[in-house]
């Protein structure tokens, strides 16, 4: 008999305790993020879409070699010993598995992974991203300066390889980007002193390596 009433008492007590908890939650702030209308914040180190700082990419192809699914493809022209024209750096997100292997192998740390994750599209082909076209450059360089040095490089190769110069000019006309690859070792000292440095390397214009 005692157990019977104790049972009822315990049942009522636990019921009231449970009801109190849920009633409290009724007025707490919801954790829902209204995703398409609000942004979902990603954690630090999130492996989202790649970013490429085109001006320090040396087209060494290391990232493409490291890629387990071969989704990276670089198209570049060597202008001279130190300058490489990267005209296309494509990542095929149909294949990419966001494994991050391309990041640590980069000698210039020009490729990184960002916070974007919205890849949905109506066409499979549009998943083949050109990182050059999405172009970015290191913060220390500004666009006009970059164009100046770029023009100089073009002028150098104009006599030897007119078609390459033309191609570079055509790419430069694209308002989205100015493109060039440079040797980062030399670049470290020269953020604005490109023109002086250029005088030294003028001699080695002739050595070109086909991609």
């Amino acid at each position: 008999m005692r157990a019977y009433f104790r049972n009822i008492y315990e049942g009522l007590k636990s019921a009231v305790a449970g009801l109190r908890v849920t009633f409290g939650y009724l007025f707490k702030k919801s954790v829902t993020v209204h995703y398409p209308f609000e942004e979902v914040k990603v954690a630090n180190g999130f492996r989202g879409l790649h970013h490429l700082k085109v001006d320090i990419c040396i087209a060494c192809n290391q990232c493409a070699n490291a890629c387990p699914v071969s989704c990276i493809e670089q198209t570049f022209d060597r202008i001279d010993k130190e300058n490489v024209l990267v005209s296309r750096f494509s990542i095929d997100y149909n294949k990419c598995l966001f494994c991050w292997y391309c990041i640590p192998v980069c000698p210039t740390e020009c490729i990184t992974m960002g916070a974007e994750y919205e890849l949905a599209t109506f066409d499979r082909k549009s998943l083949d991203y050109d990182l050059v076209a999405r172009g970015e450059r290191t913060a220390k360089r500004n666009m006009t300066l970059f164009r100046e040095e770029f023009v100089q490089v073009i002028e150098k190769v104009r006599e030897k390889k007119p078609e390459l110069a033309e191609k570079a000019e055509g790419l430069m006309g694209d308002p989205r980007v100015g493109l060039c690859g440079r040797n980062p070792e030399k670049d470290k000292s020269a953020s604005s002193g490109f023109v002086e440095e250029e005088a030294d390397s003028q001699a080695s214009v002739s050595e070109e390596v086909a991609p």
């Binding site: 019921a15 908890v21 849920t22 939650y25 919801s30 954790v31 829902t32």
Partner: protein
């Protein structure tokens, strides 16, 4: 059904020119349309409300997009979807029984709306056995549930139907016993009569008429009525996680919508019964009589419905034997104590 015509003072000119038979028919159709409108609107509102409450209890937000303001049109969108969906009948199902079951369940919920007193003169039919009528009619829905479980020809659905049968014999007695103290206090079975007895403020309500006994009886009625409408924690016939929705597993489209609508209408009806019997019906707590009756009744009913939903999203489902234990060994003795206690209290105090 002629009370509605008199009470609402339907345009006399409209009815005067017609023969009495046609006029009665018109009144009947009008009443049915009114009840159907209330049932449908109430169902749609409660579905949306429950989704909101459940969401917020779980730190979610529920429907937000349809209708721009907190998804207030969600139920209409769902309703349209269910209307347009194909009504699938399993090949080996008992076709006619399968089609009939949702109608039986819906009819029982629909008919229970008839003797609800919304205001002093606002009632479809003030039956002199109103409470008995509602108790009888709402029990019919269990038959529809068993029909659905049997006709689906699906073992889980059949289990659901069997559980409904086991449940009805458990909860009907506590429900009946919990109704009695209120009837003792008001000495009538007419819903309108019960409300009229409780006029003049919260201290005249039946819940305080029999001292502690009527308060406990109100609690017992509320608990047992949860079992009556197959709501968690007594949703054994449905039991989503074990029986895959039990008796309505095989239903789709409009037949499913009927079950859904019936469930929410029954919730509403049992909340109305509890508030009419114990909480003064359409009388406001202070006895001022300023607010219109339907508003006061709706406020009380929605409060009780909210508690039903709150229970659902708090408690896990009981086992069959636990439900039996609660109904037979706790609520039934408690019901008898309440009946006799309230009776003595009413005579002696």
């Amino acid at each position: 059904m002629s009370e509605l015509a008199q009470n609402l003072t339907l345009p006399g000119a409209l009815l005067a020119g017609l023969s009495p038979g046609v006029a009665a028919m018109l009144v009947m159709f009008a009443s049915c349309a009114a009840v159907l409108g209330v049932v449908a609107l109430n169902g749609m509102f409660l579905v949306w409300w429950e989704r909101k409450i459940s969401a917020h209890i779980q730190s979610r937000v529920g429907p937000m997009t349809t209708g721009y303001w907190h998804g207030w049109l969600q139920s209409i969108a769902d309703g349209v979807k269910l209307l347009l969906k194909e009504n699938i009948i399993p090949l080996m199902a008992d076709r006619w029984l399968f089609m009939l079951a949702p109608l039986v369940v819906f009819m029982s919920a629909f008919m229970a709306f008839v003797p609800i007193p919304w205001g002093e003169k606002l009632i479809v039919a003030d039956l002199n056995v109103g409470v008995l009528y509602i108790a009888a009619i709402t029990s019919l829905s269990a038959i529809g549930v068993i029909m659905a479980g049997w006709a689906s020809n699906n073992k889980w659905s059949l289990y659901g139907g069997m559980r409904a049968a086991a449940q009805i014999v458990s909860y009907e007695i506590p429900v009946g016993l919990a109704l009695v103290p209120a009837l003792l206090a008001s000495s009538t079975l007419s819903m309108q009569g019960i409300v009229e007895v409780q006029a003049g403020g919260i201290w005249n309500w039946n819940i305080f008429a029999g001292g502690p006994f009527t308060i406990v009886a109100f609690g017992a009625l509320f608990l047992a009525s949860l079992a009556e409408v197959n709501r968690a924690p007594f949703d054994l016939p449905e039991a989503e996680s074990e029986l895959v929705c039990g008796f309505h597993t095989e239903y789709s489209g409009m037949c499913f919508a009927f079950f859904f609508l019936a469930e929410y209408s029954e919730m509403f009806v049992v909340a109305v019964v509890a508030s009419v019997l114990y909480l003064g019906g359409w009388h406001d707590p202070l006895g001022l009589g300023i607010l219109p009756g339907p508003v006061v009744l709706m406020a009380k009913v929605l409060l009780l419905v909210f508690v039903q939903m709150w229970f659902r999203w708090t408690f896990p489902r009981l086992r069959v034997d636990q439900l039996m234990y609660l109904a037979w060994k706790v609520l039934t003795p408690l019901g008898f104590i309440n009946v006799f206690g309230a009776a003595f209290w009413l005579i002696l105090v």
